[in-house]
């Protein structure tokens, strides 16, 4: 679009520059004496020969701007257009002046005209014109490039700046400031999507906030509801304790009391913990082209150990961010524990299946069911860094995407099988 215009302008300037350079260099330096002018002057002098030297006689051809001096037959100076020219034949020769001998019609010599050699002046002029052109060209280049820079600034950098500010605002949680759309729409669709993202983010945040509040309320009311009967149990058991005379019963009632306290504590803890987790690991599945998985694998596989089979084209339901995290986890696990090539194959049945297999030692069969537990670390992980949470989280993500994650040992190594639902 606009780029075309820029390129054409640049090319035009370039062409203009080249043409004017060639033009200037091709202009012949005008250091020749104009024969027509000289003839005019010489003829006039000849016809007015008798008057030359009279102080009130104006020399002919002054308007031509050519300087000359007139000598008589003996070589003495009769007149000159100005002082300081070559005033005798010798100095004229030294100065490479043009010497013309004046002859009468019958061939007698009248005198000589010395035309002052002013080629230096012409060179000066030529240099001057060269300089002016060069300066003009530079000005032109500077002006156009400033205009282009200005346009670049206005059309690209400034929108980027707005975009940056916008992104900062969004990051800072200010989701109610809309992104202004630029008139010329260099970023039309782009900024529109950005703004769409902002509004979606804002609604999502709002929904989440509401959900959290309602969850908290639910938890609060539940704990309240549970705490009330527990408090009753406690109160009654304390009352019974006061009324009891039997020491054995007293001990039992004491136990009931203590257990009631424990229940109270457990309920509170449990709800708080779930609440925390739910808040952190949100999964939002959406339709996704299956071949988007390739990119995820490639970005996770920074050591380029994977080989992928052909991927059947279809639409799957997944959260691309979370799925990418799953691949990150699985592939880095394989790097850590197997350090072999990784073969990834895909198949399509009722759901989309991804098998990630390496050629490492696998895990001990008795450890297999424990792998996906929170904070579990295998025996071979002693020397490796990690917290033991990767597979657990991956499992959690996959389930949130209505998929699954299964681990198994194969003949050649260890394999993880992911399933994803189709759209």
């Amino acid at each position: 679009m606009k780029l075309k215009a820029y390129i054409i302008t640049l090319l035009l300037i370039f062409l203009f520059g080249i043409i004017s350079t060639f033009y200037i260099s091709s202009i012949p330096v005008d250091n020749e004496l104009d024969t027509v002018t000289v003839n005019d002057i010489v003829s006039d002098i000849k016809s007015d020969w008798k008057l030359i030297g009279n102080s009130d006689y104006p020399l002919p051809g002054l308007t031509y701007g050519i300087d000359y001096a007139v000598l008589d037959r003996k070589g003495t100076l009769l007149a000159a257009t100005k002082r300081g020219l070559s005033e005798d034949e010798n100095s004229a020769i030294r100065h490479r002046d043009t010497i013309i001998t004046l002859m009468d019609t019958d061939g007698t010599i009248l005198g000589k005209v010395l035309f002052y050699n002013n080629s230096n002046k012409h060179w000066e002029k030529f240099r001057c014109s060269l300089l002016t052109t060069f300066l003009l060209m530079s000005m032109l280049v500077i002006i156009t490039s400033s205009i282009m820079l200005f346009l670049l600034h206005r059309k690209i950098l400034k929108p980027f700046q707005t975009l940056k500010n916008f992104a900062r605002d969004v990051a800072g949680g200010k989701l109610d400031i809309p992104l202004p759309m630029d008139k010329d729409n260099v970023f039309g669709a782009f900024s529109e999507s950005f703004d769409l993202m902002r509004t979606q983010l804002a609604t999502a945040q709002e929904n989440e906030r509401k959900a959290n509040i309602s969850k908290k309320e639910l938890v609060a009311s539940l704990s309240h509801d549970i705490k009330t009967p527990v408090a009753s149990i406690k109160a009654i058991s304390e009352l019974m304790y006061l009324n009891a005379s039997d020491s054995k019963a007293k001990i039992q009632l004491d136990t009931i009391n203590a257990k009631a306290d424990q229940i109270n504590l457990l309920i509170t803890n449990m709800f708080h913990a779930t609440l925390e987790e739910l808040k952190e690991l949100k999964v939002t599945p959406a339709e996704l082209f299956s071949h988007a998985i390739i990119e995820m694998i490639q970005s996770a596989d920074y050591r380029h150990l994977t080989e992928t089979g052909t991927i059947p084209d279809c639409l799957i339901i997944a959260d691309s961010l979370r799925l990418a995290q799953v691949f990150d986890n699985l592939i880095s696990n394989s790097y850590k524990y197997a350090d072999t090539r990784i073969h990834i194959s895909f198949s399509l049945t009722d759901c989309f299946i991804i098998r990630i297999a390496d050629y490492g030692p696998g895990v001990l069969p008795e450890e297999l069911p424990l792998l996906k537990q929170k904070y579990y670390r295998g025996k071979n992980a002693v020397n490796q860094q990690g917290s033991g949470i990767g597979l657990y989280i991956s499992q959690y993500f996959m389930e949130k995407m209505q998929g699954s994650l299964q681990c198994q040992n194969t003949d050649s190594g260890f394999m993880v099988q992911l399933t994803l639902p189709l759209a």
Binding site: D34, T35, V36, N39, D40, S43, D44, K183, N185, G188, A189
Partner: protein, 781 residues
């Protein structure tokens, strides 16, 4: 193929009006181009052919019998390339010849009709009477250009004496019969011839005519012959000598047809350009309108190239039909044009069908149109059937609301018109381009007409060189000083100068030398570079001569006259249309270096008031009439001579102006009709809202006005500043290098106002169909 034809025809049927429109534009282009090409290529060919058929001479030499001898005859006979030589006795002299109701100076040549003549034998054109005593046969030019009729009285005045004859017929004169060379051949009965011979003994001459292997060889022959027998001795030899060359004669006959043909071809190019723009516009519209149709065709399984082919067939078919019709018309009109040109060409031209020229016309226009159509319709390939079906709607539409009604100032009609313009930028640009080109074309032609037909002074200067108000030619140059003093005494005279011609040789080429004392006194603008000669060793050459001698300003050139060679310094370049553009200027002093006894025998007089000329000439003649061999009233002479061109150009100009207006109508019709069709819905809504038909008509007409006004202005400015170069381009081959003809501001302004008012009225008229649009259409559509 069948299916493509089916599509094409159905499309044509639907857009009948616009197709007719296109047909007309192409028709005009084809008509003009064929006409121009026929004139350009065939007229010259026709002349050559006629020359061959009538066995006309390729070169002619006229000498006084006293100076003619065997040497000349032998020289011609043994000159290489000469195939035929004829020698005959004639009576010839400079004379005033009756022409177009006035007297014109010229060279007459009386011949015995009874004598056998091998070259261009006597052949009568049209009705004639047998030659009796006191009757004469005139060359055909005297009828067409001289406006003389059978039975009229005709006279020549030789050496102050008038000889009257009755016109008995007109001859087909191929060689001696054009009004630019002014060397005429008349036929008399034996008795009358002898009578005239007795009264004009000094005018008995020998005419030698020559045919050569190729006509082009004659240039060389004439040059060599003149160099051999004439230039060595002329100055002393006062007797008659004239020569003429085939190429000059041919140019004099074909000059007007050449200019006319070039105007036609140029105009055809302009119209062709217009038709290309129109076609582009049409195709874009067709694509837009039939977007859904194209979608359907694609859905049905038509290939893109089949749809493109249907468009191409549609447009090239129409174009071909238009060109053919135009070509046919051009053959019909050609005799008219040819008879119009007869006043200058003096030849009756019958042109049959020329398949080559017409083929070129057809192919040239058709291929350009084909290319245009294909290129424009290529974008069909990119159209997806589904997008097309949905009318080409794309989801994102960021178009701005230009000239928002709430924030802009101005009347509602004007603002809506502005919106219109903004939304139809391409269309506006098209109107602008078309109007500019055709305004330029017609403004230029108008200015040319103004300069050639109405105020020919400057143009005459171009043709003739220096044009004073009156010219006095003395019998004996010795009397010149006395006459000059007498003339200068008159109060009516602004200035008077000596101004004479001499044929000289420059580097072996013959050139007419114009000699005067001081060139700062002359009125004409012959000079186009450098300066006129001022000193006796200076010279100014015509561009053609300088080119032939390969010299330029600042060089010296050798001039030969009267057997003497002198070197001159070139100080300037001049232009002249005479002598194939060969000419030069010398000061009197400079001339005297070649021929010390040189005295000017011509006096050019410039009056204070042009209207006094006739009276002044009479006064001078009364006093010393016997001293002059001729006196000329130049203004009258130019009117007579250029009147012919004037009438030809008047007709051409009228035709071109008419074509201009016609094209304006066509283009406006096309644009307005599509515009209204396309906006029918919108107009219906506006009507429903309460706009009147007249408001809407005005709104549409107004929306075209800016494009038209700027186009007309641009065209007129171009016309004023560029018609001189254009004119020079037309006549450059005739020796004109630069022209500064004054443009006719009055004509241009009248034309501009005419086009603007006319197009506004036409827009209103065409947009009358808005009245038929009713809001009801919205419901039914």
């Amino acid at each position: 193929m069948k299916k493509i034809l089916l599509l094409s025809f159905s499309n044509i049927r639907k857009n009948k009006g616009q197709m007719v429109n296109l047909l007309l534009v192409v028709f005009i282009a084809g008509f003009l181009l064929n006409l121009g090409l026929l004139l350009f290529f065939n007229f010259g060919k026709f002349y050559d052919e006629l020359c061959r058929k009538t066995n006309s001479p390729h070169a002619a030499f006229l000498m006084a019998q006293t100076s003619a001898g065997n040497a000349q005859n032998d020289y011609l006979k043994y000159y290489p390339g000469v195939t035929e030589l004829e020698q005959q006795e004639v009576l010839a002299d400079n004379a005033d010849i009756q022409y177009n109701g006035d007297k014109m100076p010229g060279l007459f040549m009386m011949v015995k009709a009874s004598r056998k003549q091998a070259m261009n034998p006597l052949k009568l054109i049209g009705p004639s009477n047998p030659l009796s005593d006191n009757s004469i046969y005139l060359p055909y030019i005297m009828k067409t250009g001289g406006k003389l009729k059978l039975g009229d009285d005709f006279y020549v005045s030789v050496q102050g004496k008038e000889y009257h004859y009755t016109i008995a017929g007109f001859t087909e004169e191929v060689y001696f019969g054009s009004n630019t060379i002014q060397w005429y051949r008349f036929y008399l009965s034996d008795k009358e011839y002898d009578k005239l011979k007795e009264s004009l003994p000094a005018s008995v001459c020998v005419l030698q005519t020559v045919r050569m292997e190729r006509p082009e060889l004659s240039d060389r022959l004439v040059k060599d012959f003149a160099g051999e027998f004439y230039y060595g001795t002329t100055a002393k030899n006062t007797s008659i000598y004239h020569d003429s060359v085939y190429s000059n004669v041919k140019t004099s006959h074909t000059f007007l047809s050449g200019i006319t043909s070039m105007i036609f071809v140029a105009l055809a190019a302009v119209i062709l350009l217009v038709s290309l723009v129109v076609i582009r516009f049409r195709i874009h519209n067709t694509l837009e309108e039939s977007m859904v149709g194209i979608g359907v065709l694609k859905a049905m399984g038509y290939l893109s190239r089949q749809i493109i082919a249907s468009l191409v067939i549609q447009f090239t078919g129409i174009a071909a039909a238009g060109i053919l019709l135009g070509t046919v018309l051009s053959y019909v009109v050609l005799p008219l044009i040819s008879s119009l040109l007869e006043s200058q060409t003096a030849l009756i031209w019958h042109q049959g069908f020329d398949p080559v020229i017409s083929g070129i016309t057809l192919l040239a226009i058709l291929s350009v149109i084909l290319l245009d159509t294909v290129l424009t319709s290529l974008r069909i390939r990119k159209m997806h059937p589904l997008t097309a079906l949905r009318g080409g709607i794309t989801t994102h539409n960021f178009r701005r609301n230009s000239f928002a009604l709430d924030s802009s100032h101005g009347g509602l009609t004007v603002l809506l018109a502005m919106k219109n313009i903004y939304q139809n930028r391409k269309q506006t640009l098209m109107i602008f381009a078309v109007i500019t080109t055709i305004t330029f074309a017609s403004a230029s032609v108008l200015s040319i007409y103004y300069n050639v037909g109405l105020h020919p002074d400057t143009f005459a200067g171009l043709v003739a060189g220096e044009v004073p108000d009156s010219v006095f030619i003395l019998k004996n140059p010795v009397d010149a000083a006395g006459v000059m003093a007498e003339i200068r005494q008159s109060e009516k005279v602004d200035k008077a100068i000596y101004y004479t011609f001499r044929s000289v040789l420059v580097n072996g080429t013959e050139a007419q030398g114009y000699v005067t004392d001081d060139f700062s006194l002359i009125r004409g603008k012959m000079l186009y570079k450098g300066r006129y000669p001022k000193h006796d060793n200076e010279i100014a050459l015509s561009g053609v001569t300088a080119k032939q001698a390969a010299k330029t300003i600042g060089d010296t050139v050798s001039v030969n006259y009267n057997g003497k060679n002198e070197e001159y310094l070139i100080t300037g370049l001049i232009q002249t249309m005479n002598d194939n553009g060969n000419g030069l200027t010398l000061t009197t002093k400079g001339m005297k270096r070649l021929y010390p006894d040189f005295v000017s025998e011509q006096i050019y007089v410039y009056m204070k008031d042009v209207n006094d000329t006739e009276e002044f000439i009479d006064t001078i003649k009364l006093k010393s009439g016997s001293l002059f061999s001729n006196t000329l009233n130049m203004n009258k002479l130019i009117d007579v001579q250029l009147g012919v061109y004037g009438s030809v150009f008047a007709i051409i100009t009228t035709a071109i102006t008419l074509i201009t207006f016609f094209v304006v109508i066509l283009v406006l019709y096309l644009v307005l009709k599509t515009s209204i069709l396309r906006r029918r819905r919108e107009l219906g809504i506006q009507k429903a809202v309460g706009f009147t038909s007249f408001q809407l008509m005005n709104q549409i007409a107004l929306s075209f006005s800016p494009a038209i006004i700027t186009g007309v202005t641009a065209g007129c400015i171009l016309g004023i500043y560029c018609f001189n170069p254009l004119f020079v381009a037309l006549v450059q081959s005739m020796g004109i290098m630069t022209a500064s003809l004054p443009a006719s501001y009055a004509f241009t302004i009248i034309l501009a106002i005419g086009i603007i008012v006319f197009s506004y009225l036409i827009s209103l008229l065409i947009s009358m169909r808005i009245r038929k649009i009713t809001p009801y259409m919205l419901v039914s559509e």
